[in-house]
Structure formats: C-alpha cells, structure tokens
C-alpha cells in the first residue's frame, strides 16, 4: 500500500520533470529552427549588390540599398529624438518624482506604452501627422519609432539610476553641488553603461518594427532621402516582398530578414553584456 503510493509519487515526479525538460527543449528547438531557416534562406540571398542596388521590379537584378538606408536613417533619427526625452523622463522618475503621485502615473502609463500594440502607435501618428500633412512621410515614420523608443529608455534609465548608491548623491551634495549638477556629473555618469543598455535595447526593438511604419512612412521602391516623402524600410520591404508571388522577391525578403535578425541579436547580446557589468 505504502509502496504503491511512493511509486505513484515518484512516477508523477518523474513525468512532470521530464515534461519541464521537454518544455525547455521546445523553446531551444524553436530558436534553433528559426535561426537555421534564416541562415539557410538568407545567406543564399546575400550578395554585394544587396547593399548597392535598389529594390528591383520582379524579374530584374536588385538589392535592398534603399530599404537599408531608409531603416538606418529613420531608426537613428528616432533614437536621436526619443533618447533625450526618455533619459530626462527616467531621471524625473528616479531623482525628483520617486514616490509622488505624478511619478506613479507616469510609471504606470509608461509601462502600458511599453507593451502596447505598436500598430496603435502607427494609427496615432497617422491621425496626428499623416492626416494633417496630407501624405505619408519619413517624418511620420520617425515619429512613430520615437514613440516606441521613449518608454524603453524611460524604463531602463529609471531602473539603472535607482541602482546608483545614495551615498554618491549625498557625497555630491556635501561638497555643495546643486541637484542638477550632481545628477548630470555623478548619477548619470555612474549609471552610464546601464543607460546605454536601454538605448541599445530601444534600437533593437525598433529595427524590426513593421506595424507602425506601414501607414506612416509607407514604403518606397526607389532611393529617397526626402524626409517629406514616403521612405522604404527593411521591415516594410520584407512584408511586401514576402507577400508577393515572385521567387526573387522572396529571396530578397529572406536576406533582409537575416540582416535584421543579425542586427537585433548583436544589439541585445551587447546590451545584456553591458547590463551585467552595470549590475
């Protein structure tokens, strides 16, 4: 009788532990399958012309130069706009607001924005900019991406500033440094690696964002640096090409997907390394 119970408990234990190992296996298998497929299909599409030629009409030779340039341009502008705002807001939460009700609301709203569907941010910028300007534009694309950058930077900045020991702030105050100077010269400097981590994570996040670009920057088959006109981007190009019926477009879509994934994974690994150093 007792032995039966023991056997049963042991069996249950073993079953569920095996299942949890299997769960981890499934997770790793999924990652391996996705990365494997990307490498297999993406490498075939890699060629020097990928970076020098613009997106082709179906059947002709081409590359992704305009999409790569568009993505780089819009992402870097979005980071330039979003980072200062994010760092300042994060500084308010960690240094000035802390326990005030306003900081509580900002924190709450920021965390909602952090996980809010990015397509809604696209709709917001569409209403705010595209409708008013009367046309799609790279400006609108940048604004949409910047709105995604801000909450990421706010969150990491606040977290990293809170890791800075209070004794540092007190030391700065004791030698008569005003609050603003002590924040800029002491706390920011102490948390620098952490804040950079946040910016890298934000870049990683927006470099693959597609939904908010679809009806802000739209897409463009041609080379364009006009910020007032629709602009190509890698994710939007992948969306168009993958949904097409042409094999050479599919190849370009895979090559673009490989580029984005490499960029994103590199960024997140560097960010992870920096973050572990900060902690």
């Amino acid at each position: 009788m007792n032995r039966a119970i023991y056997a049963r408990r042991r069996l249950v234990n073993r079953t569920f532990l095996t299942l949890s190992v299997a769960a981890a296996g499934i997770g790793i298998l999924a990652l391996a399958l996705i990365l494997g497929a990307l490498l297999l299909n993406g490498v075939a599409g890699l060629s020097p012309t990928l970076f020098t030629l613009d997106t082709p009409a179906p059947g002709s030779v081409g590359g992704l130069a305009n999409a790569i340039a568009g993505s780089l341009l819009m992402s870097s502008m979005a980071v330039l706009i979003g980072t200062p705002i994010g760092i300042l807001a994060g500084t308010y939460l960690a240094e000035y607001g802390r326990h005030s009700w306003l900081a509580f609301i900002v924190r709450f709203v920021n965390d909602i924005l952090l996980s809010a569907p990015s397509i809604l941010i696209g709709l917001f910028i569409y209403e705010l900019l595209v409708v008013r300007m009367g046309h799609f534009s790279a400006w609108a694309g940048m604004a949409a991406l910047a709105v995604i950058v801000i909450p990421v930077v706010v969150r990491t900045t606040e977290n990293m500033l809170l890791l800075v020991p209070n004794t540092l702030r007190e030391a700065a105050a004791s030698i008569g440094a005003p609050r603003a100077i002590s924040i800029r010269a002491v706390t920011w400097r102490a948390a620098r690696a952490g804040i950079v981590t946040g910016v890298l994570l934000a870049i990683a996040r927006i470099s693959g964002e597609t939904a908010p670009l679809l009806f802000t920057a739209l897409n463009n088959q041609f080379w364009s640096t006009n910020l007032n006109a629709p602009m190509a981007s890698l994710p939007a190009m992948i969306f168009t090409f993958a949904n097409s019926a042409y094999d050479d477009w599919h190849r370009l879509a895979w090559a673009g997907a490989l580029l984005i994934t490499l960029a994103v994974l590199t960024l997140s690994i560097v960010a992870r390394f920096l973050e572990s150093r900060q902690r």
Binding site: R9, R10, N13, L17, S20, V21, A23, A24, G27, I28, A30, L31, A37, L38, N41, G86, L88, T91, Y92, L93, E95, Y96, V106, F108, V109, I112, L113, S115, A116, P117, I119, L120, I121, L123, F124, Y126, E127, L128, V147, I150, P178, A180, I181, I183, R184, G208, E209, T210, A211, L214, P235, I238, F239, A242, N243, W254, A257, I260, T261, V264
Partner: protein
C-alpha cells in the same frame, strides 16, 4: 583694510551670483525632466484621443451593434468588429493555453533542474526568442512552418479527431496550412519567453527555507514546485502571463502572415480567420472612404481598450509583488 573689505564684498557678491545661477539652472533642469515625464503621459492621452476621434464616425454610424456584427463589406460599407474581436480573443487564448504550461515548465527547468553551467546559456537562448522581431516570426511561419504543418501535421490531426465528438468540429476542413491554429502556435512561441522570464524571476524570490522544509518532509521536487513554489509565486506568474497576453492580443506582423485574413467566424481552428491588428495592417493603406478608415480605427480603439485592461491588471499584480519583495528585504 579698505581693499580687503572691497574684495570680500566682491567675493560675497559673486558667490550670491553663482548660487543664484545654480538655483536657476537647477530649477530649469528639474522643469526639463518634468516636461519629459509629462510628455509620456501626453503621448498616452494623445493615442486615446486620436483613436476615439478617428473612430467617431464608425461608432456613431453603427452604434453598439458594431461590437457584435460580423459584417465586413467595404463595397456596401457595412462594418462590424465581431469577427476581428473573435479572432483576436481566440488566437490569444489558444496561444496562452499552449505557452503558459510551457513557460512554467521552462522556469521549473531553469530554477530546479538545470546544471549550473547551462543555466545562463539556456536562459539567454530562451530570452533571445523575445528579441526576434515579429516580422521574422511572420516570414518563418509563412514559408517554413505553415507548409510543413499543412503537409505533415494537419492531415494527421484531422484524421485523428475525425470521429471524436466536439473536437472533430474544431479540427475540421481542408488543411490550408495557414489559419487560426497556425497563428496561435506562432504566437505561443513569441510570448513564451515573457512568461518564462517573469516566472523564473518570481520562483527565485521563494525563500529557500520554505522549499527546504518541504523537502525535509519528504516531498518530491514536483510536489515542492506544485504545492509550495507555485502557490507562493502565484500573483507573479499570473502577472507575467497577463503581460504575455497583452503582447499576444496586439501582435501584428507574425499573425498577419499566417492567419489568412478572413472576416468570418468559423468553428474550425484550421480555417482562416483574422484579428484586429491583422485587419488594420492589411487593409488600412488600401481603405477607401471615410467610413472604412473610421471602422478600422474603431477596431483599433477596441484593441486599445482590451490591451489596456490586460496590461493594467498585469502591472497591478507585478507591482504588489514588488512591494512584497521590497518589504521583506528591508
């Protein structure tokens, strides 16, 4: 003597000037950070206002019937959110059913079973899944997963459940490859890392003494996890799951590729369907007419409402946990 007094006066004067300048720059900097913080709130309110404003036309035309109607006809300009809401909720629910046990399983593996040396690499690998952009999941789902699923898994499932009452309706119809079930599977892979990361973190806050006392009474590892660790970490696990649900509900690109974009409510999970975000992504730039555009924004507003409720409750749960953890530490 006179000179000294003069210098002292001068020093005092400059000191006052410097202090005043410090004070000014101090309040300016504070104002700047405050403005940035308020901008975050302004963006949130702006999103809300622009969605409400944009959907006004559709909502005033169709009224409350918009929520339940499954009509979606751009030609006759009859729109309803029913099919899109159904697809959003069902695909996310299905993804949760798959991902929550898997995510908890991974967390158990990482906290209890994994050899120490492998802990970080395996944990990192799972978290990298969260970093992969959704469009990559989309293209992988469309070109690799869906064809494989169509040829090797779907026919088998259809045969297998063919004579089981109830289930035969869920797994019925021709194997398209794309459809609700495929979208849910892809979604479940995408949200898996969110669940496992949060769950692992809360598992690690469980006091060792609690676990050890259970072990000392002769509990097996599974019994400790199921009866001690999970109940203790419940609000954290639920919070993490809600966070993942918020992601799943609003996920756009991955779903758009594989769900099939059909404005129909179909019993079979293998049938093409649509979600709110997939509908907007597919149709927005091609939508003609104010009512069509407004209807698309209106379903966006509904999505905003649903995700807000889910994400807000996730936050409340995780915050209370944080407070508990903080309280214990001090």
């Amino acid at each position: 003597m006179v000179d000294l007094a003069l210098t002292e006066n001068l020093v005092a004067h400059t000191r006052v000037a410097v202090l005043r300048r410090f004070g000014r720059s101090d309040s300016r900097f504070r104002g700047l950070t405050l403005a940035a913080a308020l901008l975050v709130v302004a963006i949130f309110i702006g999103i809300m206002i622009s969605l409400i404003g944009g959907s006004w036309l559709a909502l005033s035309t169709f009224g409350f019937g918009f929520l339940t109607s499954t009509a979606w006809n751009p030609v006759t300009e009859k729109f309803g959110a029913g099919a899109a809401i159904y697809g959003t909720l069902v695909s996310s629910a299905l993804a949760m059913i798959i991902a929550v046990p898997l995510g908890i399983g991974i967390a158990i593996f990482l906290t209890e079973l994994c050899p120490r040396a492998l802990k970080r690499p395996i944990g990192t690998a799972i978290e990298l899944l969260a970093g992969i952009p959704s469009i990559i999941y989309g293209i992988w789902g469309l070109f690799i997963f869906a064809p494989y699923f169509q040829q090797h898994v779907q026919p088998w499932l259809i045969d297998f459940f063919g004579n089981v009452p109830l289930l035969q309706d869920l797994f019925a119809g021709p194997p398209y490859g794309i459809g609700m079930f495929t979208a849910s599977l892809i979604l479940s892979i995408m949200i898996l890392p969110f669940i496992s990361a949060v769950t692992r973190d809360v598992f690690e806050t469980v006091p060792t003494a609690l676990k050890e006392s259970a072990y000392s009474l002769g509990c097996t590892t599974w019994e400790v996890m199921w009866r001690i660790v999970l109940p203790f970490a419940r609000s954290g696990v639920v919070g993490g799951a809600m966070l993942a649900l918020g992601r799943a509900l609003g996920e756009t690109m991955a779903v758009t590729f594989v769900i099939g974009n059909a404005h129909r409510i179909n019993e079979s999970l293998f049938a093409p369907a649509t979600t709110i975000s997939a509908t907007i992504a597919n149709e927005f730039t091609e939508a003609l007419g104010d009512l069509y555009v407004s209807s698309l924004i209106a379903i966006g507003l509904i999505l905003f409402g649903i995700t807000f409720i889910v994400l807000a409750s996730a936050q409340i749960m995780l915050r209370s946990l944080e407070r508990r953890a903080g309280g214990r530490a001090s």
